[in-house]
């Protein structure tokens, strides 16, 4: 008995010692961590404001352009956790976008330009669909500057459903922007070029090269752009730039900045084949003190289009400058040289143009613009006969902000705005109504766009701002000469100085603009409705069907097998392979790949994907589920035999 008690005590003692040891080994107090990591109170506050414990979701969702990746980046605020890369202009294997899956192949095919398949995009400006000037969470549009195109992404699925090619532009920039009820998606040209696809000498720049803004008609019911109801307003060969649309008092109007109204084309560099004695672009393109903001009455342009007052170029309706001027629908207003941002206030009354090469932001008053237009009081006309309004008579105020002002976003608090200062590497908080600069917050480094919560709608939220910085330089671990970009989250809560909360490296192209929407406005589906797919395969109805050389395979996928598992065809057969994921559990996705055939699909719950390819090689090709879907994932395979 004594022995037993002693033994038991020994065991208990051992447990106690072990427990104590374990506790002291890993338990740390907050102050221990703070000391160990050299954190300040400010750091702790920032961490507490951004940390999402497991399972906690974000208050806002950011849709950011993915720059040269041709994709869109989706992340949450305040956690800054990346949630998705939406494949748009570029094939993306994980999502099965552009790797044999028929729907995505069709969407990417829409992006062909003059017969050429373009598999990348320089995405710049996402635009969420709006209802009465407020984000409605239904669609998001994204442009491609390099190959003028606009894509439609359906936010029920977060998938690209359409790519529309601009048939007359050769580059663009001021896109995407939507009208307050998403009647139109705007796309402004950038580098002037002939609308036709023919060669035209640069000597004919002023007469044959053109700019413009395309108004893509959006059919909300179908969730697609209707190319047949879209048109372009012709503009001079200035380099049209950032565009915004009117709302409230300025509803029905759109505003487009421009650079190089000098229409200068340089000749810099030894290898130049033309204009060998001219100076570089920079010298001539910003020689004048001012450029022009294009003011368009798009409602009037729509009327002209509907009245048939257009000419078709490459099959696309173009309303001439002449007809626009005649209809009192196109005007110019001088703006400080080489401006950049062009942002309409939530009530639609003011347009803030950031100077870029000028240290000021110029605030135009639309009521003054409209009054001058109504009185037909014009200062002059440009070479193309477009009326020019007097700069000072349209101006509300000019405010000196700092070096390189670029873009402006709005706060919930009336009059308060935030402007990015590219050269200063700072964000300016200021009041556009009173013209007072309130404070500046240094950021790292070279801020381009910036975004505040719902900051370009009729009802901004304030609260958070993200600085979309072009460079990260020394912010993160060095990963070679090409560094990630840096999105910095800033707390802009009213009554407190702005302060930096978080640095997020983004290693996927150079994101330009982003929009931040309240998360609860988004209502994506959890799974697809099986019957909404024409080729839905019901469990138990699988099979292989041959019609001459055309072989249709009807498959289902469920943890952990494809059905059928062994499929034998002949060399030269045209394969159409429908696979339905019959899972109804959330997130129970399956991948699908066939060895050597360069095909890959993501089959999401309820979805039917269709793969089309030719069995052009003899052999034995295992196919398998590429998602670790279950414990028996590795067994989820089959053989595709080509004899």
């Amino acid at each position: 008995m004594e022995f037993r008690v002693t033994k038991m005590l020994k065991v208990i003692s051992l447990f106690v010692v072990a427990a104590l040891f374990t506790t002291t080994a890993w338990a740390q107090s907050l102050s221990d961590v703070v000391k160990e990591r050299g954190l300040s109170d400010k750091d702790l506050l920032a961490a507490a404001k951004t940390y999402n414990p497991s399972g906690k979701k974000d208050e806002y969702i950011v849709f950011s352009s993915g720059g040269q990746s041709g994709q869109m980046i989706v992340y949450g605020v305040p956690s800054m956790r990346i949630l998705k890369y939406i494949a748009v202009f570029t094939p993306e294997p994980w999502q099965g976008y552009g790797y044999g899956e028929a729907h995505s192949m069709k969407v990417l095919e829409q992006g062909r330009i003059r017969g050429r398949k373009i598999t990348w995009g320089d995405t710049h400006h996402p635009a969420l669909s709006e209802t009465k000037g407020d984000y409605d969470g239904q669609y998001v549009f994204l442009n491609d500057k390099a190959n003028p195109r606009v894509a439609v992404i359906d936010l029920k699925t977060f998938e690209t459903v359409q790519i529309v090619v601009n048939p007359i532009f050769k580059s663009e920039h001021g896109s995407s922007v939507v009208t307050p009820d998403t009647e139109y998606v705007l796309e402004a040209a950038q580098y002037p070029a002939p609308f036709s696809n023919k060669y035209v000498s640069l000597d004919k720049f002023n007469t044959h090269y053109r700019g413009g803004v395309t108004y893509w008609k959006f059919d909300r019911k179908k969730g697609r752009i209707n190319k047949k109801k879209s048109f372009t307003v012709e503009m001079p060969p200035y380099m049209q730039d950032i565009t915004d649309v009117g709302k409230g008092v300025s509803a029905g109007w759109s505003f487009t900045n421009s650079i190089n109204t000098e229409r200068y084309v340089g000749g810099y560099g030894k290898g130049n084949t033309k204009y060998k004695d001219k100076l570089a672009n920079e010298a001539g393109m910003s020689a004048k003190d001012t450029d022009y903001m294009h003011v368009v009455n798009w409602k009037a342009a729509e009327k002209l289009y509907k009245a048939g007052k257009f000419k078709k170029v490459n099959g696309h309706p173009v309303i001439s400058m002449k007809d626009m001027v005649k209809a009192n629908a196109l005007f110019l207003i001088p703006e400080p040289k080489s401006p950049h941002g062009n942002d309409v206030s939530p009530d639609g009354r003011y347009i803030i143009v950031a100077g870029k090469l000028d240290t000021h932001a110029s605030i135009y008053d639309f009521t003054k613009i409209k009054a001058l237009i109504d009185k037909k009081e014009f200062a002059s006309k440009d070479d193309y006969g477009i009326p020019i309004l007097d700069f000072t008579k349209t101006l509300h105020k000019q405010v000196q902000l700092g070096l390189g002002p670029l873009h402006t976003q709005f706060d919930k608090e009336k009059g308060i705005v935030y402007t990015s200062l590219y050269v200063d590497s700072a964000v300016a908080r200021w009041d556009y109504l009173s013209g007072k600069l309130i404070e500046k917050l240094p950021i790292n480094y070279n801020i381009g766009h910036l975004v505040t919560a719902e900051g370009d709608t009729v009802a901004p939220d304030g609260k958070y701002l993200v600085a979309l910085n072009k460079l990260s330089i020394d912010r993160f671990n060095n990963v070679g000469p090409l560094h990630p970009q840096n999105h910095q989250l800033i707390d802009i809560t009213k009554g407190r100085p702005m302060h930096l909360l978080y640095d997020m490296p983004l290693p996927l192209g150079e994101p330009h603009y982003a929009q931040m929407i309240k998360a609860d406005k988004l209502k994506p589906i959890v799974r697809y409705k099986k019957r909404s797919f024409k080729h839905y395969v019901k469990a138990g109805k699988e099979g292989v069907f041959r019609k001459g050389k055309n072989v249709t395979i009807k498959s289902t996928s469920i943890r952990s097998h494809f059905s059928p598992e062994v499929i034998e065809v002949k060399k030269g057969d045209n394969i159409t392979w429908h696979i339905t994921n019959v899972e109804r559990a959330q997130d129970q996705v399956h991948g699908f790949s066939v060895d050597n055939y360069n095909v890959h699909a993501s089959i999401e719950p309820g979805e039917t994907v269709t793969m089309k390819f030719k069995a052009d090689k003899r052999g034995v090709f295992p196919f398998y589920c590429t998602e670790f879907c279950s414990a028996l994932h590795l067994e989820m395979m089959g053989y595709f035999l080509v004899k």
């Binding site: 409705k529 099986k530 019957r531 909404s532 943890r559 109804r584 959330q586 028996l632």
Partner: protein, 182 residues
């Protein structure tokens, strides 16, 4: 010369011993394999029965959290009846495809009127029960082969039954996590 002869003898002896041993082993294996398959089959039966026991526990745990008490569907003494009853309650007179094709608002309404307490977990659990149903024909086939003493085939079908039970369990455990809000 002597060394070479010796080597030859050793080689021949080795070959002979090896051949005899292999033949004996093959014979022995043939006899042993049948017994092995039988033992394997019996082992699998036990594993499957134990797994079903675990699944029953999960059903009894999640059922009251998936359907309202007033439906009187959950019966701890008959978890299989609980699971099937739950499925019937969920689809009513239609099929699960009808639910799949409903718009979200319509689905939410249907879930509520059908006294289902947790939409996402219910869909997960429906799939779990579907997998469970698939194990029955496999076990039936296993039994039939066992009766003919085709132990290997019997074991294979018992194994396939277990695969379905594992799928049931994995979905069931996920359902449990969902109803527990974890």
């Amino acid at each position: 010369m002597k060394i070479l002869d010796l080597l030859k003898i050793v080689s021949l002896t080795t070959l002979l011993v090896f051949t005899v041993n292999t033949q004996a082993a093959k014979k022995a294996k043939k006899v042993d394999k049948s017994a092995e398959h039988k033992a394997n089959y019996e082992k699998k039966i036990k594993v499957n029965n134990d797994t079903i026991g675990v699944i029953a526990g999960v059903i009894n745990y999640v059922c009251p959290k998936l359907v309202a008490k007033s439906t009187k569907i959950c019966n701890v003494k008959d978890p299989v009846a609980s699971a099937v009853g739950f499925q019937k309650q969920l689809v009513q007179k239609g099929t699960i495809d009808d639910l799949d094709d409903m718009e979200e608002a319509e689905l939410k309404k249907a879930i509520k009127t059908r006294k289902i307490l947790h939409q996402a977990a219910a869909m997960q659990f429906y799939d779990a029960v579907e997998q469970f149903k698939l194990h029955y024909p496999e076990r039936k086939k296993a039994k039939a082969f066992a009766a003919k003493k085709k132990w290997q085939l019997a074991a294979q079908h018992e194994e396939m039954a277990w695969q379905y039970l594992v799928k049931t369990a994995s979905r069931g455990i996920f359902t449990k996590k969902m109803v527990d809000g974890k």
